[in-house]
Symmetry: none
Subunit: 221 residues, 4 copies
């Protein structure tokens, strides 16, 4: 968990009084500890099998402490997902602005997301578990998390501009095509992790496989 993204949470851009900052910084440090532990445990066991006790132990805090930082299990989970998405989104935005063409942007999007998940395998499991979940009433709030929506919109915008640049076909909506891009992406990453050590394909070759399949499809040309 990137502490920076936590600090941003607060938008404390007021003049930083030292004593408050110290307190605040400590708080964020602990929050990050707990989120790190939660990520590990949720990835390992899934939402329901993971207990708050597990997470507290992994974080090396008492269970009561966890509740000091997160109102309940749900909030912890949601916060975890939110921060991760925020981190990912920050990277994507930062890197894609460098590119000129929409195609380059898509390439960068794929490469950077791949690389993000490589560094965050635990989160990938959670990410995958969460896509597609409309059930689980409580956790369902996820879909409304603004970062998740922002991430989705980011991809849609990517496709939209590619459509404008005549790189992506325009006979289907950007949203539909964006979903398909993400789907293909997830499928590839999923297999990558499942195969584990043996595959160890490098990121570049995987990137180009995804891009190729996405752009050109499976048919013989």
């Amino acid at each position: 968990m990137n502490v920076n993204s936590l600090i941003e949470d607060k938008f404390i851009m007021e003049k930083p009084r030292q004593s408050l900052n110290r307190r605040e910084r400590d708080r964020l440090l602990r929050q990050a500890d707990i989120l790190r532990a939660a990520e590990h445990v949720f990835a390992l066991k899934g939402y329901h099998e993971a207990t708050m006790q597990d997470i507290a132990k992994e974080a090396q805090y008492a269970i009561g402490t966890v509740y000091l930082y997160f109102k309940d299990k749900d909030a912890l989970y949601l916060s975890l997902v939110e921060h991760k998405y925020r981190d990912l989104l920050a990277i994507l935005k930062e890197e894609t602005v460098k590119a000129k063409t929409a195609k380059e942007k898509i390439e960068i999007f794929i490469y950077e997301t791949l690389s993000f998940f490589e560094r965050n395998q635990n989160f990938f499991r959670i990410f995958v578990s969460e896509r597609n979940k409309n059930q689980e009433i409580k956790v369902g709030k996820l879909r409304k998390l603004s970062v998740v929506i922002q991430h989705k919109e980011f991809v849609v915008e990517l496709i939209k501009s590619a459509q404008e640049q005549q790189i992506i076909r325009s006979d289907f909506s950007a949203k539909q095509i964006a979903d398909i891009l993400i789907s293909i992406f997830m499928s590839v990453v999923f297999n990558w992790f499942k195969e584990g050590s043996k595959g160890i394909k490098n990121l570049s070759s995987m990137s180009s496989f995804i891009l190729d399949m996405f752009l050109n499809g499976a048919a013989v040309k």
Copy 2:
């Protein structure tokens, strides 16, 4: 739940004594009731949030009765998934043999699966939930359910023969491509259901969208 598939379970090809059949048929009818209820509840709440009580109530049986037909929650869940997959697989096999070319087979595969999920929206949620789940130790047995494997193999074989017929590119493995086909498929169906009533695209147009994206990709040609 299709009662036929339940009845097939028994391979009762012996001379059908009426009295025995009656008992047996009753049993299967009730089993189907419960599976139907389970499908509904699991789809609505997911595996963990669904309680045996919920399912019993939905099926209008007492809790004990459910246990008369399924040894535990896990067995009920597994049985549900297994039967659904079996139904789907039976349809797919039956319909694809009619086709001559591999391309036709893929078309039929898409159309029939689409149509199956249209009739089994509840199961679709479960299906989606299950793909991607490596955690959840017990439920994890699912991946080993032979019908699930058979279904996967069926799709791989479909791709393989399309590769042999030079319809699908051969620079990637049939398995990789099969995964992508299923991914695209799932993504489309997922959105279809999410949009609910408003979209109501017809099956044929959706089929051709999936096929188009799968074969030709998203790039402008």
Copy 3:
């Protein structure tokens, strides 16, 4: 389970109408079947672990049938104990009358009881389990079972007459001494069964061991 003792239950000494007798005899036969099964299962698993299903299966009847003959699990259990005690008591009375002296009667009592338990090892487990149980509210009714009381009284009478004949000391009550006799007896039989095959002492030698310890005690003379 001795069918005779079951028949006695009814004290039907009225003129035996044939049709009724037939019905009645059938009924007793089934009752005996079930009691036999219950004896086996209760001995194996104990009262609580034994299920009515277990017993029905062992008896090769449907569960409903068991309830046709015994009002509930408790009644079945009680009936079992009662019949066994009745059988034992009948034997003891029949055999001890043959003896002249009180000492002979005691010898016969020991020998016959030993021999009864040899033939009814299953019942012995139940018998042992039951002695000493005041807890288990429901089963506690046992202590009031008249046969159990009769059996106890029989032993007390045995001791009493031995006291009158100056064979047994009179400085303690017959009841106290009777309890001790039974205790010693149970302890020996318990070990006999526990040791199982290896010990295989014969009945006579065990009888005399019990009698010796009971009469002369453990002290060196």
Copy 4:
């Protein structure tokens, strides 16, 4: 439940830091509460009829609290029996060493055990219930509880040394004779409790009755 015996569990012979001791002592206090409640309830209802809820209520704790101290019902039961036996055994060892002759030791053994059960009537019921139980698979582990075995061995050693000192006859094994001593003992205590208030014999007279019957038997000399 004697808190001392619980504290001994820990063999805390390290320098007793106060803070640690406090926590630990609290824990043992609560454990003792629960064991006390369990003793009461198990004695009253027996193992199976006693519910964890009953015990929790008796102990005035919530059900979850009981599980904080004992992993399951079985563990609670076993722990109870173990602690009681340990207490008894400690007393017996402590008191019998004071005696010189084997006969004195036996006298002390009888007197102290009598006195222990007078203070632990509830446990006596459990003790009696447990002797004689070979069935009940789980609870059957009891027989292997080392304290139970140690207690038995203690009595056997008592008899053995009495045999060596020519006080107890040697024509039967110490084990056989030990069993008989315990049997007689149990029988007397059992009646003592059953008669309840009216009997109120004093311990000394009961001791000598047991010893007399055990050593000299029931025969007129």
